[in-house]
């Protein structure tokens, strides 16, 4: 407001009903030298305001994301203990070579990968099917959409606790249901693959509806004519789905794959809470479902080795980058061969 006060004082009657105007033609002609500071302020406002508006984001991001991200790399080259965090001993790449020789790392990496695949692939396929169903003309469509999204609102903690009970070996509902079909009790916690499947089912439950809504939104943006054209060409419903719908939402599919991949590499809460005993964060008695996120936590806050925790974090980041580079390369090769 401060800038407008002098303008209204000097602009006088000729500014008229349009109000005090700094950019109106009469201002530019003669008035400029008479009140430079209001113009200056105005100019300063135009130049500086955008930076002021985006500054909060970048300040917070810089302080709490970018700086820690880079500092993690620095810490990963040191020996730092939780109790004495201000003492950093230079290790070079010692932490990395230790990690490379550590069976727990390869185990956690394999688990992260398998749980990631078991949770992501069915999740996205089911989301695609659900979105297709939700795209019909429906009675009560609002209910079905909100119902599909409800698991997304459930906190990881609550979801993992409930699923732990549903998957309980002796009295859990899932084993009871299976027993109706003559299946013996499955030990969902201590056997490797059942445990990984159970943990994946928590992820699937929480995120399928969310992804389905993303797909649904993209499907609704596909122009009707494409379906008509496909129908004219005699495409069956299934062909319309694979030739029109899926290509029509390709960018959304890529987006969800990226998001799910990032989510899968970070998996932490579900395996932490699932079947957790008093000892906490092991990821199963034989680490049979310990993920990289859990290993990071175990190194830092159970073994008190912050330097090695940082190494795990940075290794995770490098893996993500590697995954996306690989994906790029595969895409290149594919488009070249076809």
């Amino acid at each position: 407001m401060a800038t407008s006060t002098p303008a209204s004082g000097l602009g006088g009657p000729q500014s008229g009903p349009a109000g005090p105007t700094k950019e109106s033609p009469d201002d530019r002609k003669g008035a400029r030298p008479r009140r430079p500071w209001s113009t200056l302020l105005h100019r300063f406002d135009i130049k500086a305001a955008p930076y002021a508006f985006v500054a909060p984001f970048f300040v917070v991001f810089g302080a709490f994301s970018l700086y820690p991200l880079l500092y993690t790399a620095w810490i990963s080259l040191h020996d730092v203990e939780l109790a004495t965090m201000d003492i950093m001993e230079w290790e070079g790449f010692g932490n990395y070579s230790q990690l490379w020789q550590d069976d727990r790392f390869w185990n956690a990496l394999a688990n992260t990968f398998t749980i990631g695949v078991i949770s992501t692939v069915p999740q996205l396929l089911m989301a695609l099917g659900l979105a297709h169903l939700l795209n019909y003309k429906l009675k009560g469509s609002a209910f079905f959409r909100v119902a599909a999204l409800t698991p997304y609102a459930t906190s990881i903690g609550a979801a993992a606790l409930v699923f732990t009970m549903l998957f309980e070996r002796d009295f859990g509902m899932i084993n009871w249901f299976l027993s109706l079909f003559g299946v013996d009790n499955v030990d969902w916690e201590s056997s490797k693959w059942p445990a990984q499947f159970a943990i994946s089912s928590i992820v699937i439950w929480r995120w399928t509806g969310y992804n389905a809504l993303l797909y649904l939104a993209a499907m609704q943006a596909i122009p009707q004519e494409r379906y008509e054209a496909a129908a004219i060409d005699g495409a069956s419903r299934w062909q319309q789905f694979t030739k029109v719908t899926v290509p029509g939402i390709r960018s959304t599919i890529v987006f969800t794959i990226v998001l799910s991949t990032i989510g899968a590499t970070q998996l932490f809460g579900e395996p932490l809470i699932f079947g957790q005993g008093p000892n906490g964060v092991s990821g199963g008695a034989d680490n049979q479902y310990q993920t990289l996120g859990l290993l990071l936590y175990e190194e830092g806050w159970k073994n008190y080795e912050m330097g090695r925790a940082a190494t795990v974090a940075w290794a995770m980041f490098l893996l993500l980058i590697l995954a996306f580079v690989l994906q790029r390369v595969v895409k290149r090769v594919k488009s070249r061969t076809s």
């Binding site: 709490f64 999204l149 459930t154 903690g157 439950w205 809504l213 004219i232 957790q276 830092g300 925790a309």
Partner: protein
């Protein structure tokens, strides 16, 4: 489904459909079932959707059932399907045993603060990126998008050191400050304002001599309100459910809901129906929000998908 799809192929051979003149196509089109998008759902579709809704809601329903029985009933087969009489008793016991009272208050403070600040800063930055011209705008915007890809686990070790040094360990600011802004929020607001806010409105404001903050306040905010509501709700849900970092930096004396829930699983509480009561307490506030604003949240997520 199968009969529907078989019909058009039977009466129009595929090669013919390609060669027939446009006029002929039109006529045939009316004979065909309507294509793709807005077909009415048949009984099969409804049955599948009902199954999906059942799978989505059942674990939550069963949380309530288990929380309303007692430990012995939960551990019997077949498991209980109908609510028992102990819901209030278990809820109040969980409230006291598992610090759920503190956790609820803490989670409210955390989620509220983060959601409000994210909305404010996302709208400010989104407005600047959408409608203001400044040097380096595109590079900065790319940077915002790039930050969406960086997993938060990467920064926990230095963050933990930082918070310990600041004396914020086990305190709520340690959880609040790192998440005061969100790249997704900025991007969402930018996309929204790009379309929803006409340039003429801003120019009219400038002509009236309003400075940028004034324009933000009286021109941008009214237009941005619907998108701000969406960003608020989605951020609130995420902040409420955020787990990894709060779990590291907070402890049981001062937890948020997800942190308090881990204690329930860690063997301190033996009673299964109590555990379920705690899980229910931690979920109820968000469920209530979903009952009231579910449609808007769904709309917001879908809006973000098309534009994002």
């Amino acid at each position: 489904m199968t009969t529907d799809t078989a019909r058009p192929r039977a009466d129009v051979p595929e090669p013919l459909a390609d060669t027939v003149a446009p006029a002929g196509r039109r006529i045939r089109l009316s004979l065909r079932p309507r294509a793709g998008q807005q077909r009415k759902a048949g009984p099969v579709a409804y049955a599948l959707l009902a199954l999906a809704a059942l799978l989505s809601l059942f674990p939550l329903y069963w949380t309530m059932v288990a929380a309303s029985t007692d430990n012995t009933r939960v551990s019997q087969t077949p498991p209980p399907f109908l609510p028992g009489p102990n819901l209030l008793k278990n809820l109040s016991a969980a409230w006291e045993d598992a610090a759920m009272g503190t956790a609820l208050v803490n989670s409210l403070i955390v989620a509220m603060t983060i959601a409000l600040s994210t909305v404010l800063f996302a709208t400010l930055a989104g407005f600047a990126f959408a409608k203001l011209r400044f040097r380096g705008r595109n590079i900065l915007l790319m940077l915002v998008i790039g930050t969406m890809m960086v997993p938060p686990q990467l920064s926990v070790v230095p963050l933990f050191m930082m918070m310990t040094e600041l004396g914020w360990g086990q305190k709520l600011p340690a959880v609040i400050f790192p998440t005061l802004v969100s790249a997704v929020g900025v991007f969402f607001m930018r996309q929204y304002l790009l379309e929803a806010l006409p340039d003429e409105l801003i120019e009219a404001g400038r002509v009236d001599g309003a400075h940028s903050l004034r324009i933000f306040w009286s021109v941008v905010l009214p237009v941005a309100r619907p998108a701000m509501a969406v960003v608020f709700m989605i951020t609130f849900v995420h902040a409420w459910n955020d787990f990894f970092w709060p779990f590291i930096v907070l402890d049981m004396t001062n937890p948020t809901i997800p942190v308090a829930l881990t204690q329930l699983s860690a063997g301190y509480v033996r009673d299964q129906s109590l555990i379920m009561a705690g899980a229910l307490l931690g979920t109820l506030p968000l469920l209530a929000m979903f009952v009231v604003f579910g449609k808007q949240i769904v709309g917001g997520i879908m809006q973000g998908a098309v534009k994002g």
